[in-house]
């Protein structure tokens, strides 16, 4: 009995699939991606239009394929920024660890997945190609509102003047 039940159930399941189709005619039809889709990493700006990346090199440290290389420099106001930023997408496995590690939410995995190249060298994206206009998936986040020195906002510290207790 249960054998027939089993056979019928599986036949039913198979028949049920006849009307559904997961295969798309890809270039003409775009797939609908899930919200947490992990595609090509990008660098983002904060809501004020400042580059978020502070060149802390945590993303490059955590990247399991070591495809990120960057070097920082100081802005005139003392804030650090990435002077050069390079990701080799021929190696990237879209694991998202860089995004996870980034304290400033600068690096984010975008939904972009279709960027085939004919030459390996073209997979190396520099900062100009990585940096996008907007804030990415965190429209409100300002790292400097949460941590670190605020470059303009605070008044000069009043206490701790080294001369204060000299005779």
């Amino acid at each position: 009995m249960s054998l027939w039940r089993g056979l019928l159930a599986s036949l039913w399941t198979t028949l049920r699939q006849l009307r559904r189709r997961d295969t798309l005619e890809y270039p003409e039809q775009e797939p609908k991606l899930g919200e947490r889709w992990r595609g090509r990493p990008v660098l983002t700006h904060d809501p004020d239009g400042e580059e978020r990346c502070v060149a802390c090199e945590l993303c490059s440290a955590v990247c399991p394929t070591q495809c990120i290389a960057l070097e920082g420099a100081d802005r005139p106001d003392g804030r650090r920024f990435a002077q050069s930023f390079r990701i080799n997408f021929a190696r990237c496995i879209y694991c998202g660890l860089c995004e996870e590690a980034c304290p400033t939410l600068a690096i984010q995995l975008s939904p972009e997945y279709a960027f085939a190249k004919t030459e390996r060298g073209d997979f190396v994206y520099h900062k100009e190609a990585l940096l996008i206009e907007g804030t990415g998936k965190h429209p409100e986040y300002r790292y400097y509102a949460h941590a670190g020195v605020r470059t303009q906002a605070l008044p000069k510290p009043v206490h701790c003047d080294p001369r204060s207790n000299l005779p």
């Binding site: 495809c67 290389a69 390079r86 021929a90 701790c160 204060s164 207790n165």
Partner: protein, 651 residues
């Protein structure tokens, strides 16, 4: 963005103890950090009030311009005002501070996380102590140098010259192109021309006390197979001094200084070997009696039991007086060989047998490999070389790692027709006017062997291969290179050894040259140390060779004003090209004791009639009737420390 990240004790402890989230509710104290000059960066908000910085800076290094201010939650570590730190050991703050309050500013400009650096084992090439270093490089660039402890030489600390002097490798004017007659040419063409000139047999060879042993031997072997004159020094005076240094019995190690109870310091040792004062202070803390003979201000003036401020020519007699007293316990003489002539060393060396057992002389000088350069070229070779050049034998000088014009300009003014070819990694005075120039790899870019002031042979590994980053990978640069794409295009310059080999090949003397080289190397290096080894000592029989021929060189004459060399602690041929360090050097001037003259300028004349005008500055704490002038001026005028001069005072 804290530079200490990756090497921060506070961070490590925080993570280890699990305090990953902050629960402190009260307002955090905030500081205005100070601007501490080009070498050290301060970010006072990271301080954990551990006091390591003051304990190092004041108690160990004896610095007076840095300290702790305030109390309770207002405590602040810094200077009274912004400004560069004055101690020549200030760079160590970046290492003693466990958090990121003090970090290395020079490294910051070229910063890469410490886990990305490749560290190797190096030897500091900036003075005769031969401190052990740990250069860190990445992506074809040398980014920082830190200390590597050596129990006998530098147990913990490096001086700023050793820490920041490496930046000469990135000097803007560092030569990278071979030149012929001032015009760039490819290496092969220049080597061909040089080989043709060498084949004429009218060439003299000059080695260098700042180059490593193998480079000197390679050049010496080349001179030998060509049967040409060779010297390691261009100045006979310097050469005599080197010979005296080599003839000394084995000097004590710097780390054994605190074991002495009586120490006589002659000259400004802390300007020559800035790490040395750490040992002297330690000795003083243990109760040693330090005596000073000096003509320039000294950091020990307040510590010494005896302090004599003398013109350079009187140093010898004063040293003699000191030695003449009854000493029962072993004592130590620390000699800055830049302020004394060979005669003092010579006389002291002859006396040393009569001193109590265990006494010693530790000479200091800026050339890191002086014994290594001078073995085969110390006995009147410089005079012979000059005679050959001045006479009809030679009309071409091939100098390696040394600029003969920087040693004695008056002589070159007289013999302007001699062609000069240079092999060097620094843009020296004669570079632009030289006949041929061949740039070579910097000392950190190749392995090397160095004899330090104690006669200890130490090996340095090549720290990195210089390379320029190509932003894009191109197939013609080879297989796909860096993980993150791009490419490193190596910009390797040949080592002096490779250049000598190329010359020997062109002259078809390759085999004889190699045979010679092997012979000298076997003779000198029965057991060559490897990088990281503690080092092996100069064999006594080699030292003994220099104890022969011991006629004392003539003493300088004293007439009225005498000159001595004024130097900045960061000054040394290579370190001079390190931009950040050099920016701290005082302006070019002549220095005299305050209240001696109202003039504002001074004119000094050389024997050949050329003259030099220098601004006059007062330097508190120096001897009367002494003029301290920088080395470049001494060389221009053809003067040596201790020589008498007749200054012309100008307004």
């Amino acid at each position: 963005m804290c530079d200490e990240g990756g090497q921060c004790h506070l961070q490590n402890m925080t993570v280890a103890s699990g305090h990953a989230y902050r629960e402190y509710e009260a307002e955090k104290r905030r500081y205005q950090s100070q601007e501490l000059g080009p070498l050290i960066r301060q970010e006072m908000n990271r301080c954990i009030t551990c006091y390591r910085c003051v304990r190092f800076y004041q108690d160990l290094a004896g610095g007076e311009d840095f300290g702790v201010f305030g109390s309770r939650d207002r405590v602040f570590f810094g200077r009274l005002q912004d400004g560069p730190l004055e101690s020549p050991l200030a760079g160590n703050l970046a290492e003693v501070c466990p958090t990121g309050v003090f970090t290395d500013k020079v490294y910051h400009q070229d910063y890469l996380r410490p886990w990305d650096l490749e560290e190797s084992t190096g030897i500091c090439p900036h003075c005769s102590l031969g401190c052990n270093t740990r250069p860190g490089a990445a992506r074809g660039r040398l980014r920082r140098v830190r200390q590597r402890p050596h129990a006998e030489i530098n147990p913990y600390f490096l001086c700023d010259r050793g820490r920041y002097g490496f930046r000469y490798v990135a000097a803007e004017n560092r030569p990278r192109q071979a030149q012929a007659g001032g015009r760039s040419q490819d290496f092969d063409g220049v080597l061909d021309r040089l080989a043709a000139r060498l084949a004429e047999g009218r060439t003299a060879f000059l080695g260098s006390p700042r180059e490593d042993l193998d480079s000197n031997l390679a050049l010496f072997a080349l001179a030998r197979v060509l049967d040409a004159p060779f010297a390691a020094f261009f100045e006979p005076w310097e050469e005599a001094k080197a010979r005296e240094i080599l003839a000394l019995p084995r000097p004590p190690a710097p780390a054994s200084i605190p074991g002495y109870e009586e120490i006589l310091v002659i000259g400004a040792v802390e300007r020559v070997a800035p790490t040395l004062p750490l040992f002297l202070r330690e000795a003083q803390r243990r109760g040693a009696a330090i005596s000073l003979l000096r003509c320039l201000p000294s950091a020990f003036a307040t510590l010494a039991v005896e302090d004599h401020l003398l013109p350079p020519a009187d140093l010898l007699d004063a040293a003699w007086d000191w030695l003449g007293r009854r000493h029962h316990r072993p004592f130590l003489l620390l000699i800055d060989t830049e302020s004394v002539g060979p005669e003092l060393l010579h006389l002291l060396r002859r006396e040393i047998g009569t001193w109590p057992d265990g006494s010693g002389i530790l000479p200091v000088y800026r050339q890191a490999n002086l014994p290594g350069a001078s073995f085969y070229a110390v006995d009147g070779h410089a005079s012979r070389l000059r005679a050959a050049l001045a006479g009809n034998d030679c009309d071409h000088l091939l100098a390696l790692g040394q600029d003969p014009q920087e040693m004695d300009l008056p002589w070159w003014r007289r013999h302007g027709d001699i062609d000069l070819s240079l092999i060097d990694h620094r843009h020296s005075l004669s570079w632009d006017g030289a006949w041929l120039t061949l740039p070579c790899a910097a000392l950190s870019e190749r392995p090397g062997l160095y004899y330090n002031g104690e006669g200890r042979l130490q090996a340095a590994a090549a720290a990195y291969t210089p390379a320029r980053e190509e932003r894009r990978w191109r197939p013609e640069l080879g297989p796909f290179p860096l993980a993150a794409g791009g490419a490193l295009r190596e910009e390797v310059l040949p080592s002096p050894m490779a250049l000598c080999r190329a010359l020997a090949e062109r002259l078809e003397l390759s085999e004889r040259w190699q045979e010679r080289l092997r012979f000298y190397r076997d003779f000198l290096l029965r057991a060559a140390p490897r990088p990281g080894d503690p080092g092996v000592f100069l064999p006594e029989e080699l030292r003994a060779r220099f104890r022969l021929h011991s006629a004392p060189p003539p003493r300088a004459t004293d007439q009225g004003w005498s000159v001595c060399r004024f130097s900045h602690y960061g000054e040394e041929e290579l370190a001079d090209s390190a931009r950040e360090l050099h920016s701290l050097a005082p302006a070019r001037a002549a220095w005299i004791a305050p209240g001696q003259q109202d003039a504002r300028h001074i004119r000094l004349r050389a024997a050949d009639g050329t003259s030099r005008t220098l601004p006059l500055r007062a330097l508190p704490g120096m001897a009367a009737e002494v003029l301290a002038i920088p080395r470049a001026e001494l060389v221009f005028l053809g003067l040596r420390p201790g020589d008498g001069v007749e200054p012309e005072w100008l307004d």
